[in-house]
Amino acid sequence: MTVIKTLLIRVTRLAAVVLAVSFLTFSLTKLLPGDPVNVILGPQASNETVRAAVEKDLGLDKPFITQYTSYIGGAVQGDLGRSYNSKFETTTLLRQKLPATLELMLLAQLISILISVPLAMYSAYRANTRTDRAITTTAFGLISFPNYALAVALVWLFAVQLRWFPAIGYKPIEAGLGANLKSMALPVAALVAGLMAVYTRLLRSDLIATLQEDFVLMAKSKGLPTWHILLRHALRPSSFSLLTVFAINFGALIGGSVIVEQFFVIPGVGSLAIESILRRDYLVVQGVVLLIATSFVLVNFAVDLLYSVLDPRVRRASA
């Protein structure tokens, strides 16, 4: 009963956030200067008749609220409108661009976690030793490294000097897994460096706090081996902030990999966002923002549920 109620409240709040984001985007595109009709018509833009016809065709002559409600009405049914520019459905464009972004993001997240969890565990266990200092200092440096600067350095080293990977370009999986992964290596590395550093720092500091807990001393006094204590006792209660940031990144990286996508010429959602912003292709911009906001909200919801799996105390509090 109460579980369902809290769940309902949460879902309503999340839906409200998505709605607010979409409304904000919608208003921004109307408020800010730059008219899509101008872009579509080019030199013909001064012709009032043509202009009115185009505006009517796009539904831009209707009042703001009507435009917004019809947009949301369509969005609920999976219709995000047509691109002003290419005449493609926005959903079609998103579906085309999403795989590359998803692959980039998933690979980067997976590799970052695989590297940072053992690294953080080792660093926390050996806190304040030379190895730990080396790890934390490196992580600190990587966080301060702008990803475009890193991308430039990576391309120079691995593509220009060593010729291990192509400098730019994207090969879809259909072109063969090897070629695909090769084309993804440098973009993924550019993202991994920063993510891994953030994750390592977060988990390390939480682990250090947990390792001071009485129950860790208790586990130690049972004569359990160190790896067992780190893995079974310390890791789970230390993973909450890592989990939160990790989850937020699933949403954030869809838009946050813009730079990497642009640099490496990967046809992803980030590149789509930039192109459509520059072309005043508002419906596509709105589609991208809506996609990002929705995934952000969904991921957050999933994290909330995961918390209650990880921590039985939360389970009781929310029940």
Binding site: L217, M218, K222, G223, L224, D311, P312
Partner: protein, 374 residues
């Protein structure tokens, strides 16, 4: 990892000769930026099989550090142990981490002060009991679980079959402490270190937990070190008591002897701070004025001298050695012991000079005791 485990099994039924635990000139120092903290500074005692030793002292006297350090649980890099701790004849101070760990859980185990924090909040109680059993004794899952249920039953937890699937937050404080005791007992240790096991608990539950500890100890013929700040706790439950102050044992005697003929003024002060049933309910408790000394630069003479009602000039300059009283097995560290002519004379001299510590001791007045702090 398997090597020390099998080695332990060979060691297991060791010859029943000599003391179980022999501590000699044991020190535990912490290197800190402010200086070396001498938390345990030359402690000696022996503990026979099946016997109970009470270690009593204020907070900050080093008793918790002593217990943890004997076991070897303090592994921070700034910890320095020296002197001798022999368990069953095996030296622990020079032993490697692996050798020490091989004893934890199976030979010696610890019950911690606060059961709210010493149980893992995100692990089921059953798992917390069985993980030791499965690791040390290689028990299969089902057998370990059955043994966990049995253990919970033996420490007086009702409905153990349900409890093993619960999380710590679903249990009361007393129940949780019973669980930690069950965990400590799981692999059949021969030495149990109980560090203030009742301090964090409700007064009504304290006696039950202490009784449980005593009962388990008798049944298992297990030796126990009971660390507490409350002389009342150890009164009827220990064979011997060691009183600690500022990292040293200042008096040690068989329990009965200590209560009948204590020598050390500090012990006297501790004793006076226990509420007594025969006192009218609003009698003020005597509090020991002042604070335990700085463990980086302890006082040059007797460490208790600054707060002692008996203290004379000599006490502030010359550290008293541990000397034997006429009662057997009784040692203390004082120039002017309680109950001696010298002590009585010292106290009277201090009273005549309106020494605040002496007046506080004489009148049992907490307000006067507070004045000693100034």
């Amino acid at each position: 990892m398997s090597a020390p485990r099998s080695a332990r099994r060979v060691l297991g039924p060791a010859p029943e000769a000599g003391a179980l635990l022999d501590v000699e000139g044991f020190r535990t120092h912490f290197e800190t930026p402010a200086g070396t903290v001498k938390a345990v500074d030359g402690v000696s005692f022996t503990l026979e099989r099946g016997q109970t030793l009470g270690i009593v002292g204020e907070s900050g006297s080093g008793k918790t550090v002593l217990a943890r350090s004997i076991m070897g649980l303090l592994t921070a890099r700034n910890v320095q142990r020296s002197g001798r701790v022999a368990y069953n004849g095996q030296d622990l101070v020079g032993a490697s981490k692996q050798q020490q760990r091989a004893l934890w859980g199976t030979e010696m185990a610890m019950v911690f002060q606060d059961p709210m924090t010493s149980l893992n909040p995100v692990m089921r109680i059953g798992r917390q009991i069985t993980e030791g059993l499965r690791y040390h004794l290689d028990l299969p899952k089902g057998e370990a679980a059955a043994q966990a249920v049995q253990l919970l039953e033996s420490v007086g937890i009702p409905d153990p079959n349900r409890r093993i699937n619960q999380y710590p937050h679903e249990l009361s404080g007393g129940m949780r402490q019973r669980v930690t005791i069950a965990i400590a007992l799981a692999c059949g240790p021969k030495l149990l270190l109980a560090d203030e096991p009742t301090t964090a608990l409700d007064v009504t539950v304290q006696a039950q937990i202490l009784d449980l500890l005593n009962e388990q100890q008798r049944e298992r013929h297990m030796a126990m070190i009971l660390v507490t700040h409350d002389l009342g706790v150890v009164a009827g439950r220990t064979d011997e008591i060691a009183v600690m102050y500022a990292g040293q044992i200042v008096e040690r005697a068989p329990t009965r002897t200590l209560f009948s003929s204590l020598r050390m003024p500090y012990t006297e002060a501790l004793l006076r701070s226990i509420p007594k049933l025969e006192q009218p309910s609003h009698t003020r408790l005597s509090i020991i004025g002042g604070r335990p000394p700085d463990l980086i630069n302890p006082p040059a003479g007797c460490r208790f001298a600054p707060r002692c009602p008996y203290a004379q000039a000599k006490c502030h300059t010359e550290p008293p050695p541990l000397v034997e009283a006429d009662t057997p097995g009784h040692v203390y560290r004082c120039w002017f012991p309680v109950g001696s002519a010298a002590g009585l004379e010292a106290l009277e001299r201090n009273l005549a000079e309106h020494n605040p510590a002496a007046e506080a001791a004489a009148t049992g007045d907490a307000a006067a005791a507070a004045a000693v702090e100034g």
